[in-house]
Amino acid sequence: MKIRLHKLALGLWLALMLGSVLVISQTRFVADLSAFMPKLPSARQQMLIDQLRDGAIARIVLVGIEGADEAERGRLSRLLVSKLAHNPRFTSVQNGDAQTQQRDQRYFFDNRYLLSPAVTPQRFTAPGLHEAIQGTLDAMSGDAGLIVKKILPRDPTGETLHILDQFIGESQPASSDDIWVSRDGKRAVLLLQLSESGLNTDAQAAALEEVKQTFASLPGRHADSRLVMSGTSVISVASRNIIQSEVERLAIMGSLLVVALLLLVYRSLPLLLLGLIPVVSGALVGIASVSLGFGHVHGLTLGFGTTLIGEAVDYSIYLFIQRAGGKNPSHFWRTMRLGVLTSATGFAALMCSSFPGLSQLGLYSISGLLTAALVTRYILPGLMPQQLNLRDLQRPGLLLQKILDGLTRLRWLMAVALLAAVAVLVLHQQDIWSRQLNALSSTSAAQNKLDAELRGDLGGNDMRYVASFSAPDQQTALQLAERTRAVLQQLSRQNIIGGFHSPDELLPSIATQRARQASLPAPAEAERRLRLALQGMPLEADQLSGFLADLERARTQPLLQRQSLQGSAASVLLDSMLIRRADSYLVLLPLKPASGETIALDKVRAALAAQQLGQVTVIDLLEETTAIFDSYTHEALLFSSLGSLAILLLLCVSCGWRQAVRVTIPLGCAVLCTVAILDACGIQLTILHLVGLLLVVAIGSNYALFFANKQQLGSDAEQRQVEISLVVANLATVTSFGLLGSSSVPVLSFIGSTVAIGALLALVFAAMMARIGPRALPR
């Protein structure tokens, strides 16, 4: 009967493993920013995510050429542009050269009658023309006279000025010898736009690599010249690479360390291999469950996998060491079941998080741990040899017992540590929490500095305020943009906003273009009206024949399409505002504050709503990111507390309140002391530290449980076995989390360091408090 059951379990296990491997082989692994974005975003948060993924921001690469001298940098900049200009990986390659500038100027000048918002039928009547030409002459008498003079013969009504007007106040990159240079003149700067969106990190990575290689192979390049790049794509590719290499390193190192530890304890290859079965099973099922539950697995989740190795291996350690005698005491399984349940409760709290990184971790850990525990319970005993040839742990056991006895006598130290911890926390309480989302970002301070510098060089303002909406097709999108622009213009006049951009400035809707074309009079009529208009003005109609010819050309020219902007800087700007998605168009209109830093968004929203433009969402990106992070933190506080509470309840229910208190006190002390240690090291706590603390409670409770449950054990020898298994298990946990703590990916290192410190403290405190000294046992 027992054998048949075991065979059934073995069959089930094999099927599960096979299924998991199949699922994993179909799994998409990602390492982008999605781990930090909310699972069920609000409309405004969705905008933020769209912005990061589809938005033009995700496709822009800021490039700097440093070193050598100015002439060489200029030469390299031009060469790089010529090499990359026709590469399909890039939709735009610019360094401010005269050619691109001319292309833009030509687009605006040649199409001025379709682009100028001032073009109306009234403007092209005789009085309208008179007024418009007088306006241009007035502008000519002013400070911009030199520029206006150039356009007068062909554009006497000043349409070009009206178009340029929309771009007033834009900061432009500095230029030297006709190409863009940094503010300090020490680097040449370029702007690239990638063809692929932020959704395709692989393609972006390949394009960035191509830029590097193209630069490296530029003919006659000075050896001391170098290329620097930044931008959202560069940062996400870099952080993906870091995460990938870290995950590999952690997995290999973690496995090696645990294997070494087990070999040291077991001194037996078969036992080692058996001990790894629950670990591998747990990892496979964990990854497969996340894949099934989320549709993809984030690289960070795999990074956490290392810690599962440390956790899952504990079960086989308990089994092998505590049961070396070959007995099968039921209380052993009971204690272990309780341990698994408390850990699972802790991780279940994570699963409720709206922070996808954490909920993946929760699901991964729960399914992994449960699998590992079940495999240990139902598969391992059947595979274990009847008599375990475990090395004799008698002598280290006795030594350990002495140490633990000593610790128990040093119980007062716990009170001292607790007092010290409270003192540290009281003194430092102001800045214990970090509220910055970028505290979690994997990019280095140097990369962030470069990013800020290049952005400054290229005159890119930090886009903070955005009005946005989506529309089913391009024409609807542009028409909505035109309606929105009317409202924003009003707000701009009232000084509620300082300025804005809208895609229709660069590409008006077909309807608007047609209306503008229809405003232009036919040639004979145009000339008659012009002669009338020029009466009393210092200008003759004959001097304006270019104007009449242009007017006629505009009246019959083909309407502007998106392709009309190809190759111009304006097309990059348009792409950043009018974004094509799978089945819709996303429109983003950047808003600038009037003065100071902020915009009263409620007024903007009210004005839009008054014009039936409620579908336009206005957001403050800074506020949204801070809000997301704040909500994560609040939520993390809540579920950590609930998780801890659930664990306590579980303990109370299963072993009575006295026992629960005896288990809780060392755990509480461990948590407080861990926080104090982190704080004293000058580390600001983030949501991930909080999660780490929850795991300290979840994992630490196992130690305390086994210590506290000892009175149910029989002999001193058995007690020693339990203690030694606890220490080995603890070492495995501390090692694997400590390894995680050494990672250069903040998310991994925060959790790792917290749990490593906390788990060690939990064991020591549990030994002091929960352990019942042999002499205290009434026997």
Binding site: D143, Q172, P538
Partner: protein, 195 residues
């Protein structure tokens, strides 16, 4: 056309005048700069006429000027269209009648820099700033002097061929910009207060 001929004749006359004066005087650029540099602040009204080949009549504008040593200069046009240019340190701000402003950092725009320094460096008597962008020749005497500035940068030469500033003592009376295409502008300045 008439305008061009006139301006050429005028230019020739001025040139003759300048030549004859420079023979007579031992009045140097250093002296002029020193004299101009003593002024701390001043306000004035101006009338500017632009002679443009395409137009039958010159375009006229007028307004107020204010200068505060060492580097603040404000030109406020009142007619025909109110607008203002405020130059302060390295920042040039254009203010338009509708209240919109546009700022330019002079460090980023060498050609704009050259343009504004012709007036500002002259007013503040800053010879080194002036000679960074122009070769300067002085004629006349303390009572009535004329400073001719020829741009050094090829980029600037394409737009402006010469700037002529005339005055008496520490007072600038006219500033004339001769453009490379033959058009020119002439600003007449009447001091209203000076310190």
């Amino acid at each position: 056309m008439r305008v061009t001929i006139m301006s050429k004749t005028l230019g020739g006359l001025l040139l003759l005048l300048a030549a004859s004066c420079s023979l007579a005087a031992d009045w140097s650029l250093a002296d002029l700069m020193q004299q101009l540099g003593q002024k701390k602040a001043g306000t004035a009204t101006f009338v500017e006429k632009k002679y443009i080949a395409m137009l039958k009549q010159p375009l006229e504008s007028s307004g107020e000027l204010a200068f505060t040593a060492p580097d603040r200069l404000e030109k406020r046009t009142l007619k025909p269209k109110p607008e203002a240019v405020v130059l302060e340190g390295n920042k040039l701000t254009l203010e338009r009648s509708d209240g919109r402003k546009m700022s330019v950092n002079l460090a980023d725009r060498p050609e704009v820099s050259a343009f504004v320094e012709s007036v500002r460096a002259t007013l503040s008597g800053d010879r080194s700033a002036l000679e960074r962008y122009y070769s300067a020749t002085l004629s006349g005497g303390s009572e009535q002097w004329q400073l001719n500035l020829t741009p050094l940068q090829p980029r600037m030469q394409k737009v402006i061929s010469q700037i002529r500033i005339a005055g008496g003592h520490a007072q600038v009376r006219t500033i004339e910009f001769l453009q490379a295409d033959g058009d020119r502008s002439e600003m007449t300045i009447t001091s209203t207060s000076a310190k």
